[in-house]
Symmetry: C2
Subunit: 655 residues, 2 copies
């Protein structure tokens, strides 16, 4: 377009066209709308599939390489340890050693506590802090991920399994189901990674997770009142009402000794947590606090062992390494469906946490974590775990944060942690005999309280009300209904939000910003002016079956309102409707029918409908469905500006 | 922007910037990006809700009217009969009388046949052609809709109910459940209308319906082989395999007399249908054919009544008007859930047909049908029907087409039809005693064969492969699984298609069309050239939790590929990434985080990220979440052109 100030129209605020005198007839160079290069269906399909499954183009490193280099790269891809093992040195080892020991001090009490959260024997929590970290250090691509059991997955597994199977009456079945669920969680995670379906976890939006985690944290904290108050008979249900009923119904079982011990250590843990939050450099204060509490309380109970029978202790724990458990997996029978369901729910939750944590710390040090690769690593680690008496593990946020702050450099810190757990398993187990259960409850509460992220919730409320609604729904869903259903409702609301945006898209009237070829929303830009005789509408969504009826009605309403307005103000009569298709990024057969229909209906009212700037695939479909033919050569323009200039030029010639 | 040819940059094909000598430093007037006018949360909510529920602004007619006029308008809205009854005249009556009698001749055999399709007594089909048309003529807003039972809803009701309840062993229960399902269908339809949730039916896309109806038509036609071949023992299942098995397993029951009679009349009906399709003026040929067949075959059987015992006939039908059936409705008990489910599925299917047919004929005569109003009318008509021995009815395509072609002018034609049915019910029932069942089978086959719309299916394949996939899925789902499940799968695929579009949106590189301020997809527009030092990307979707991770990865990949390309060709190094946000019509909290993260990651690589043309609500959210602050004053531009001009101007000053 030979843009020239002489040829640009100016619209003044009285909405009449003023054309500068020396050039009475603007002779714009109109650019033809072009089709995208022709591609076959197969090419389109390949392109689409590669965008869906390989958006990161994982093979780009393999291009133009020799076979040997390709083999090395593949090996490094499958086992990231080969990427860094060759240039590993003593100084890195020193950092990893310190951070490994630091997270071990956190991992041991956490392992025992979280296993109790899943209604599993405490020793399973330690087993789960030994085998999976070793496997992850070979397969994982994150340098800072601290691997082990996490509170959310433990809680969900405990709640889903114990709704059907009692862990007190049939502990072997319960344990077997937990391992089976772990196996299916791993299988599910690894398949997502291998099939490159990682985007499934994207559907757990941050808003959903904020609500879900806060709800779960409250439920877990309330459940810990069992240990904290010393109640013996407690509900196994997970909703807030039965839990609270249970607390007050058994108030005669409350034990003042337990309460005193529990709340003192809870206060200690919360204070250390607060200190570390205020001064991130003092991260070790909260990292060391759980182990300190365990040691102190164990010594205390040991000293007072003849006077504190009311305080429940862990008791005997077997020494020794993880026993094999592949023979305990159930692949048939009544409870298989339960195990699969539990596996999928815990698998997806632990995956979400693991990937999110990995990405967070990777972005802090500006390296990338490959989502699909991580899924494979976490999945294989869980499959291996399920055969060696471990339950669901993933990258834990608290552990990774401590790991990062303690200066971890590579996944070797996970190996050091596993070694420390190994020593504990082999030699130190009898020391936990007198550890009071109430300390574990206090540790759990301190851990989960960090999951209540009210600041994020407040931000959601401020920025996006619908996101906040999804957050609220998952929060109350978890509190009052059940963990998986709460999660399901929240995902449904998130999806509904997308569908709502598509089924009721924004349409807006565009106006010209005087002296330019820019057309903008007149309600957003005060200086944008309507162009007389034109109604310029922008559609802010793909035109699909879900919105085609709505769009047709809405556009006709815009036309009706514009005509009413013109009649009321004796304005220039409407002659042409320009549809700016820039944001209508796709169209389906219903959408094509709608455009056709709309054009016919407007034609019956002597109004012309033209399209501006249809994107490539929309243009192609308009062409293939012959809708383009009905619009004619002059029905589609490259920009709104060119449409307005070209259509209005003959009118000006005959004033 | 003081656009002036001297100031416009030209990029030649060697991708170097050439600035015309007389103006070495372009001094563009950059337009500030403006926020939309501030609105409160309540105002936003009200606006959003009114767009969701009242997109057609139904109250606009009531504005600035006196109370009396408002009352009259409300009455006319509720009972559209008041709109046209006052200027009804004899000439209109003449047209309506002819068309009413024409559709009655179609309605009587269709009513009997479709009732058999739903495994109901034939008389119920006639009852259903009497009460509902009368109610619709008072409440409905379409002038051409022919109301009565339709094949799809009859088939679905028959298949869903008879899977659980046998219509031969417990006919009273079956009949009661059919009326109950009709009641719930009506209730569901009316509620959709009253709650203005009409968009629910939009989710049955045309592609889905094409496949569903073709599958259903094939199943129905095959089922009619029972009547057409004279088989006595036949499966009640609806899948293709048991039906075909049934046909050939009972081949000893085939009756040559029935087959001869059936296929001759089927041929007659198909030929008349073909004639009417070829010459629309001869519509009456196919409209009169069913009644002609019924009369001819009845006379034939009556004459040969001593020699044709093998041919099953309808037998005795009770005379008299619709008996009340409200006492037969089940509102409790074992089968309530089944009745509700059947009601909802048949309700939504019949609603889809009724609304689509109403809209089709309204657009032919350029009047509008109010979707929500129609839902109320159809819903109330079914509720009333369920209390007067009618089963699900709606606007039938075949009947409406005949009605329209026979010159119907108003809903009075429905009243005429009902009167004709009334006469039949009161006096003519004994005449149907000798009507052979095989004729009904032939009528049904002729009716449903028109539902196989292979031309539309071919068009779907040509224009949109994913739509075609949805079509295929519903087709095979209905054939091999079951009617409601097939429908469910197809809806799920349609929704998945929307989600896929959102979770894997298109991103594309824009280039400048030389001599203009227009930036376009470089793969679509060959003349569009990349701007050196810039990478201009357009995102073709809202930025949501479902795609934020993908978009981040994809944009980083674009940057990586661009840098590799530049390095390979010794080009100008990349300095700035411009994100064209025109088509990113919404953003949520995850999307905001992604933009923030992306900006930081690019900054670490010394690349500037700026946004161009964010729409109103995106801009607001960027502001509220403080992401805008991190981009700074110079981080957001009104157009890509202004961004490029403004950012590159200091570079040119220091060559």
């Amino acid at each position: 377009m030979g843009v020239n100030s002489n040829r640009v129209e100016h619209y003044d605020s009285h909405e009449t066209i003023r054309v500068q005198s020396e050039t009475p007839m603007p002779s714009f160079q109109i650019h033809a709308v072009q089709f995208p290069p022709e591609t076959t269906t197969l090419q389109k399909l390949t392109h689409r599939l590669s965008e869906i499954f390989f958006p990161d183009d994982p093979l780009h490193r393999f291009k133009n390489q020799t076979c040997f280099v390709k083999f090395l790269l593949a090996l490094q891809y499958l086992f990231p340890i080969f990427q860094w093992a060759s240039h590993y040195n003593l100084s890195l080892l020193r950092s990893d050693f310190i951070s490994g020991l630091t997270i071990a001090s956190l991992a041991i009490p956490q392992g025992i506590s979280y296993a109790k959260l899943a209604n599993l024997p405490p020793i399973v929590g330690l087993y789960s802090s030994f085998v999976p970290p070793l496997i992850y250090s070979v397969l994982g691509s994150s340098k800072h991920l601290g691997v082990g059991p996490v509170s959310i997955a433990s809680l969900v597994m405990g709640s889903m399994l114990s709704e059907r199977v009692s862990y007190t009456q049939d502990p072997t079945l319960y344990l077997g189901l937990a391992f089976t669920a772990t196996f299916f969680a791993g299988l599910f995670q690894a398949s997502l990674g291998i099939l490159r379906l990682g985007f499934v976890i994207d559907f757990l939006s941050k808003a959903t997770l904020v609500g879900f985690m806060a709800g779960a944290a409250i439920i877990v904290s309330l459940q810990q009142l069992k240990g904290l108050l010393g109640i013996v008979h407690f509900t196994s249900k997970m909703q807030i009402i039965p839990v609270l009923t249970s607390v007050f119904k058994h108030s005669h079982e409350w034990s003042w000794q337990t309460i005193l011990l529990g709340f003192s250590f809870l206060a200690f843990l919360l204070i250390t947590r607060h200190i570390s939050l205020k001064k991130p450099k003092l991260f070790w204060v909260s990292a060391a606090a759980p182990l300190t509490s365990v040691i102190l309380s164990t010594i205390l109970i040991f000293l007072l062992r003849n006077k504190t029978h009311e305080i429940a202790v862990i008791g005997h724990l077997p020494k020794g390494l993880n026993p094999p458990s592949s023979n305990m997996l159930y692949f048939s029978g009544l409870h298989l469906a339960l195990a699969i369901k539990t596996g999928i729910v815990t698998g997806i939750l632990s995956l979400t946490e693991g990937i999110a944590v990995g990405r967070t710390f990777a972005s802090l040090q500006n390296y990338q974590v490959d989502g699909n690769k991580e899924m494979m690593a976490i999945g294989l680690m869980n499959i291996a775990g399920s055969c060696s008496s471990c339950y669901v593990t993933t990258g834990s946020f608290s552990r990774s944060a401590v790991n990062y702050n303690a200066g971890a450099q590579t996944a070797v810190s996970n190996i050091i942690m596993a070694a420390a757990v190994l020593v504990t398993l082999l030699f130190l187990m009898p020391l936990f005999y007198y550890t009071p259960n109430v300390i574990l409850a206090a540790i759990i509460i301190t851990a989960v309280i960090g999951l209540i992220d009210y600041q994020s919730a407040y931000k959601l409320w401020k920025v996006d009300k619908l996101d906040f609604l999804a957050c609220l729904c998952s929060f109350f869903g978890v509190l009052f209904i059940s963990v998986p259903l709460g999660l399901g409702i929240a995902v449904a609301i998130s999806v509904l939000k997308i569908l709502l945006h598509v089924s009721r898209p924004n349409t807006m009237v565009l106006g010209n910003i005087p002296g330019t070829q820019i057309f903008h929303n007149i309600s957003q830009y005060k200086e944008a002016l309507r162009v007389p005789s034109f109604l310029i509408l922008a559609v802010e969504s793909p035109i699909y079956f879900a919105n085609s009826t709505y769009l047709q009605e809405r556009i006709l309403r815009w036309v009706r309102e514009e005509e009413e307005h013109i009649n009321a103000n004796n304005g220039t009569p409407l002659k042409c409707i320009v549809l700016d298709m820039t944001a209508a990024t796709a169209i389906d057969t219903s959408g094509l029918d709608t455009l056709c229909e709309l054009r016919k209906m407007l034609e019956k009212r002597s109004l012309q409908l033209v399209l501006a700037n249809p994107v490539g695939n929309v243009l192609e479909k308009l062409h293939m469905s012959k809708v383009l033919d009905s619009f004619g050569l002059k029905g589609v323009y490259l920009t709104v500006g060119e449409a307005v200039a070209d259509i209005s030029s003959p009118w000006k010639a005959q004033p």
